[in-house]
């Protein structure tokens, strides 16, 4: 088969339809249950640890993790794997510093934790700014990625692919809130793991079941066999590599859609056990990215580079087609279709998570607590959340369609991680651990983090790359990843704002937040909501778990 947009791949369309149908059935069930704000944003806090672990994996592993890392490994060898390592190690930061504390002291958003001890309106405004920047950049990157991939794999036009992705996402959220979103993410995590396992087994079968042959075969088939297993093919500037590492390991701990997942479980114990499940799943998946990436190199060789597209995003689907029997065969078509559909499900699950976290910032933080000062009804809050989700989805669709395929996806994802690590993470960590920290510190820190990340990415070589300019806007600055500068700036902003302000009453409220976050005293109660019904109000479910729809 070809990848021309005029050629619609009917096998892929059929598999797409099946995946979407399953998610819509889940959404239908969820829509009959979700009533309150706690149901809408936190799925009634009724998910079990394993369920939330799968949902975190589904929320976290974007198309960039699946197709992007496999493509980078295919094209550049070792450097691609660095991303896998960083994305996983980041969960230790989340587990040790934030997961249980978020569950114990928050309600729906990052801002809940900050406003606990800080002056509410400025603290919420700052946290909402951080959340919306991260979710916005990440969302647009995913939407553009979805459009490019679906156009290439299925043959649906770019704009229609974007509209379909955004449309399904809006349906999940508006109809089923976090309950539907969580189950879409759980289903996606199952599908993604199954696909990765299948690809890995096919690759191992192809090279003869000796994993070490994978490296030697891949090296031999590379354009630069001497350098393929050496670092530096993709990340050529050493300081940039360090900066990337810093951004990866601290960025995850500031991603609003990941932190929000800890509000969906009944208590801190379930929050930390969900991290345990998530690192098991995500780690296994990232180990398999090497089999897929090096496997693509060993199987497709140099000849496949052009078909893999920019960034190598199509290396994994092309590998599947080849392993299934080759282009035009039934097996090849089917395996390609499955990988394409899983990539689509992957993007759907991630964008739904992003938009529901952004709707929390708009409706819960800005509308309910800043504009209405907490005087609105819960019903109004949920309505505003749904309107916000539709509006954010529509804006993202519009930007992706107007910006088109030319929008630089890796630049947007880099920006999202940079803002998360430089603005959200310092403010959250210091609010939970530093007694002296105050409102001015939070506001200055978030502003420092957001502004420095955006400014540094704008002057970076990613934006200014071109035939004439090898470097960025300024010859002395050549970092593509701003973390090594912007993260310290975020912390300095927090410190500077704190010491320059005379506000001291936050030191008293520190004791309350500290005791609550460590002991779970007074934490939000689960409502007993599940996909199939609602248990008693004590938060203990009568049935162990909802049936697995996958």
């Amino acid at each position: 088969m070809t990848y021309l947009a005029a050629d619609v791949n009917s096998t892929a369309l059929t598999v797409f339809a099946i995946v979407v149908a399953v998610t819509l059935v889940v959404t239908y069930f969820a829509s009959k249950r979700v009533a309150t704000a706690t149901d809408f944003w936190a799925a009634g806090r009724g998910l079990t640890g394993p369920q939330n672990g799968f949902a975190i994996a589904g929320d976290y592993m974007s198309a960039a993790s699946f197709l992007g890392i496999a493509g980078l490994i295919y094209l550049f060898g070792f450097d691609g794997f660095l991303y896998s390592v960083g994305f996983l190690v980041a969960f230790l930061t989340v587990l040790f510093l934030l997961a249980e504390r978020m569950r114990n002291s928050g309600k729906f958003t990052i801002a809940d934790v900050l406003s606990f001890r800080l002056n509410e309106r400025p603290a919420r405004a700052a946290a909402a700014l951080g959340t919306l920047s991260v979710a916005g950049f990440y969302l647009i990157a995913q939407m553009v990625g979805a459009g490019v991939l679906i156009e290439a794999l299925v043959g649906i036009d770019f704009w229609l692919s974007v509209v379909l992705t955004g449309g399904f996402m809006i349906i999940y959220i508006v109809a089923g809130g976090m309950l539907a979103t969580s189950w879409v993410q759980i289903i996606k995590a199952f599908l993604l793991m199954a696909t990765a396992i299948a690809l890995t087994l096919f690759v191992l079968n192809e090279i003869g079941w000796n994993p070490i042959d994978l490296f030697n075969d891949a090296k031999a088939k590379s354009a630069t066999p001497g350098d393929y297993l050496k670092p530096g093919l993709f990340l050529a500037t050493p300081l940039d590599t360090v900066s990337l590492g810093l951004g990866l390991v601290l960025g995850t701990a500031g991603l609003p859609h990941i932190l929000m997942r800890f509000f969906t479980v009944p208590d801190a114990k379930a929050a930390r056990s969900s991290v345990g499940w998530a690192v098991g799943l995500i780690g296994s998946f990232y180990v398999m990215t090497t089999a897929i990436g090096f496997g693509a190199r060993a199987v497709l060789g140099k000849a496949g580079e052009e078909a893999a597209g920019e960034g190598g995003n199509l290396a994994a689907p092309n590998l599947a087609e080849n392993l299934g029997g080759g282009a035009g065969t039934t097996g090849g078509d089917l395996f390609l279709a499955v990988v394409a559909a899983v990539a689509f499900a992957t993007i759907l699950a991630v964008v739904a998570g992003l938009v529901i976290s952004a709707s929390g910032a708009v409706a819960h933080d800005v509308w309910s607590n800043i504009v209405r000062r907490g005087r609105d009804s819960e019903k109004e809050e949920v309505w505003v959340a749904k309107i916000a989700a539709v509006a954010i989805g529509a804006i993202a669709i519009a930007i992706a369609v107007i910006g088109g395929e030319g929008l630089n996806v890796s630049f947007m994802v880099g920006l999202a991680f940079a803002v998360a690590a430089s603005a959200n993470f310092p403010a959250l960590l210091l609010a939970l651990t530093w007694r002296r920290f105050n409102t001015a510190g939070a506001v200055t820190g978030v502003l420092f983090g957001v502004i420095s990340s955006i400014a540094l990415v704008i002057i970076s070589p990613k934006v200014w790359a071109g035939p004439d300019s090898e470097g960025g806007a300024f010859s002395f600055y050549d970092l593509a990843n701003p973390g090594i500068i912007s993260i310290p700036l975020g912390f300095i902003g927090c410190w500077l704002g704190t010491v320059l302000s005379g506000e001291r009453e936050t030191e008293r409220s520190f004791d309350e937040l500290y005791v609550r976050s460590e002991t779970g005293l007074g934490s939000e109660v689960a409502t007993g909501l599940t996909l199939t019904g609602r248990a008693g109000r004590d938060g203990r479910k009568e049935e162990p778990a909802a049936p697995t729809p996958a």
Binding site: L92, G245, E512, D538
Partner: protein, 126 residues
């Protein structure tokens, strides 16, 4: 323990006293004794790997066994580190931190045999 987790009684707590209680200080000390060294270790191991990747390219490309490189082995060691540290933390939290947290919470709610906690009090997220 479940009752305190479920939110009861938090509206009548003297938080400063709760923070200073020996039970809470014990929890704080025991948690820090695990989390601080574990965090320093994982950051050191990870950034050691990153620094070698950035500045010791030839070393990372050396073969350990028939083409398996130092770099790939060190990368895999990061995965094992994450799994081991996560498992160790989960185990310690179940066995040590949770009982200590329950004691600290009980002490905070009833400093001297005061009122029993009411389940379902709406207290947080102002």
């Amino acid at each position: 323990m479940n009752e305190t987790r479920a939110g009861g009684g938090a509206d009548r707590v003297d938080w400063v006293a709760a923070e200073r209680s020996p039970e809470f200080q014990e929890l704080r000390k025991r948690k820090r004794a695990f989390i601080l060294p574990a965090t320093i270790f994982f950051l050191a191991w990870f950034f050691g790997f990153i620094l070698l990747t950035a500045y010791a390219e030839d070393f990372m490309a050396e073969s350990v066994y028939e083409g398996l490189t130092v770099g790939y082995c060190l990368a895999l060691s990061q995965f094992i580190m994450v799994w081991v540290l996560t498992a160790a933390y989960l185990r310690r939290a179940d066995r040590v931190f949770d009982p200590l947290a329950a004691r600290a919470a009980a002490r905070a709610v009833q400093p001297a045999g005061g009122t029993a906690p009411r389940a379902g009090d709406e207290v947080s997220g102002r």
